[in-house]
């Protein structure tokens, strides 16, 4: 036995508890993805989660570490998150590659849980987006939009997942469509106004909110994501600082520019509901490991994410900027932790100066 310092009581929180509550909070979104993409979503989810767990186990074995942490939920959570930010159209090998990359390079090579500078799932997603832009920007038409499309059954899904569109006698164009963000970007490039483009796309705020638009698996329903996110906040698993400041910044920026020129800049509600903003804000940016630890640092982080998201969405080549924004801000996390600190009791802000 060794020296034990006070306190001799513990609140009972644990890593496992934290991870599993996030997983539970993501379940509604996962269910919505199954509703939208049928068996395709099921295959993608199981592949990502399974490969993540396997990779974690294999890496720990390989490095001669105890393999118990496989079950702390963090690898499973990474797999689940990864699946939710992938488009339903990715083939099996890409899903496996992403899961292996996320766990191996994104997490275990950095020393495992708690040491990864980037969110592993997002890192894998960024790698895929840059390496396979076609697959990563093709969005399968959701089930309810085109009932005639025979894509979502068990057998066809399996064929599609493993053999590609040819196996189900389809072409990319027939089964995929643009996401609202991508569509808007293309149309704006051709000189169409925002409102016209949204009408052309048949975009509906309500649909985006309850989850009927095309996109990555988990992006479908803002409602499902919000349910999980707010439950996490109520449980104190995540704090409000990052989601609120992230979404708030995007909304404020969008509103400001939309006021100045409604034809060239999309309205705030569109920015908030379309794409992966809510998913990123509640579940990606709040990844405790790769975000700052102090409350004020979290706000800085969220605002930074918000600005970058809006800037990349509006001016960049990529239609969706939320993921890039989070990875870019992950890079700045150590510096935020170093320079943005809470005010210490008895000191004026900016420390060392006594009151």
């Amino acid at each position: 036995m060794i020296f034990l310092s006070s306190p001799h009581m513990h609140g009972g929180n644990s890593i496992q508890l934290t991870m599993f509550s996030v997983i539970i909070a993501l379940l509604p979104a996962a269910m919505v993805s199954v509703y939208l993409y049928g068996w395709l979503a099921v295959f993608l989810l199981t592949t990502c989660i399974g490969i993540s767990l396997l990779t974690e186990y294999w890496m720990l074995r390989w490095m001669g570490k105890p393999t118990k942490p496989v079950w702390d939920g963090s690898a499973g959570l990474t797999g689940l998150l990864l699946a939710l930010i992938l488009p339903a159209a990715v083939p099996w090998w890409m899903a496996i590659f992403a899961a292996v990359f996320a766990i191996m390079l994104g997490k275990q090579l950095y020393g495992g849980l708690g040491h990864n500078p980037f969110n592993p799932a997002l890192a894998a997603r960024v790698v895929l987006l840059i390496s396979f832009p076609l697959h990563m920007t093709s969005w399968i038409v959701p089930m309810h939009m085109d009932a005639s499309l025979d894509m979502y059954g068990f057998v066809t899904s399996l064929k599609f997942f493993f053999l590609g569109p040819e196996a189900v006698k389809q072409t990319w164009d027939a089964i995929t469509m643009a996401s609202p963000l991508g569509y808007l970007k293309t149309e704006l490039g051709q000189g169409v106004t925002v409102s016209q483009a949204l009408v052309n796309y048949n975009y509906s705020t309500l649909h985006a909110f309850i989850g009927r638009e095309a996109g990555s698996l988990g992006e479908g329903s803002a409602l499902a994501l919000l349910m999980g996110g707010i439950w996490l906040m109520a449980r104190h698993t995540i704090s409000w600082h990052i989601p609120i400041s992230f979404i708030g910044t995007v909304a404020v920026l969008a509103a400001l520019f939309n006021l100045i020129n409604p034809d060239a800049y999309a309205p705030p509600m569109f920015h908030v509901l379309a794409g992966g903003l809510i998913l990123c804000a509640f579940f990606m940016a709040t990844d405790p490991v790769s975000s700052p630890s102090s409350s004020i640092g979290k706000i800085v982080f969220g605002v930074g994410c918000g600005v970058l998201t809006w800037v990349i969405r509006t001016y960049g080549n990529y239609p969706e900027g939320a993921m890039f924004a989070v990875v870019l801000m992950n890079m700045a996390t150590p510096l935020i932790d170093y320079y943005v600190r809470p005010r210490v009791y008895g000191y004026k802000r900016g420390k060392q100066h006594e009151l």
Binding site: M1, I2, F3, S5
Partner: protein
């Protein structure tokens, strides 16, 4: 002659820059070696000479001048070595000698013959005594350098471990040797009482 123009231009430019740099070097001339001072301040000042230099300051000078590696200060231990390596911007090197527990010299007074040899050897003047009289060591000032051991003709000087004081006690890092040592002492204590 035209092919020489570039040479002239280049030479003229080089001359201007050269003169400018010469002036700058005079203006920004550095007196002494502030680095050696910084290193000296980190050394434990035991003046033990285990580094092969006749004291701490000479070793600091040698390290600052890159003549010797940073890992020769035994009493300073790993912490001092890391700090010096940090300042010098070099890779830390493990200290070859084993780290020792802090000790102070103690003279067995009944054996002391009063030869004053140890007094002369002490680098920090912490041995008191006169010829033909017992010498004694001011424990508070002893650096534990062991330099007084050798000159003593009757070997009456011991190095004893410095006692752990209650007011100087500090928490050991969780799960280390020191912690376990403290634990055994605690157990011993229990046995006594």
């Amino acid at each position: 002659m035209e092919f020489l123009y570039p040479v002239f231009i280049f030479a003229a430019l080089a001359l201007v820059i050269g003169v400018g740099l010469a002036l700058a070097s005079r203006y920004f001339h550095v007196e002494g070696d502030p680095l050696a001072d910084t290193i000296d301040a980190l050394l434990p000042q035991t003046q033990c000479g285990q580094c092969g230099y006749p004291g701490c300051r000479p070793y600091a000078n040698a390290v600052a001048a890159d003549e010797v590696s940073v890992n020769h200060c035994v009493p300073g231990g790993e912490r001092t070595m890391l700090q010096i390596a940090n300042i010098m911007g070099v890779e830390p090197k493990a200290i070859e000698e084993e780290e020792t527990v802090p000790v102070v010299a103690y003279i067995r007074e009944d054996e002391c013959i009063g030869c004053t040899l140890c007094i002369k050897a002490c680098p920090v003047d912490c041995i008191i005594g006169a010829p033909k009289q017992y010498h004694t060591i001011v424990t508070d000032h002893c650096t534990g350098c062991t330099l007084c051991l050798e000159p003593c003709p009757v070997d009456c000087i011991d190095m004893v471990e410095t006692p752990e004081l209650l007011e100087h006690w500090s928490w050991p890092v969780p799960g280390t040797k020191r912690a376990i040592k403290a634990e055994t002492r605690k157990a011993n204590h229990e046995g006594e009482s």
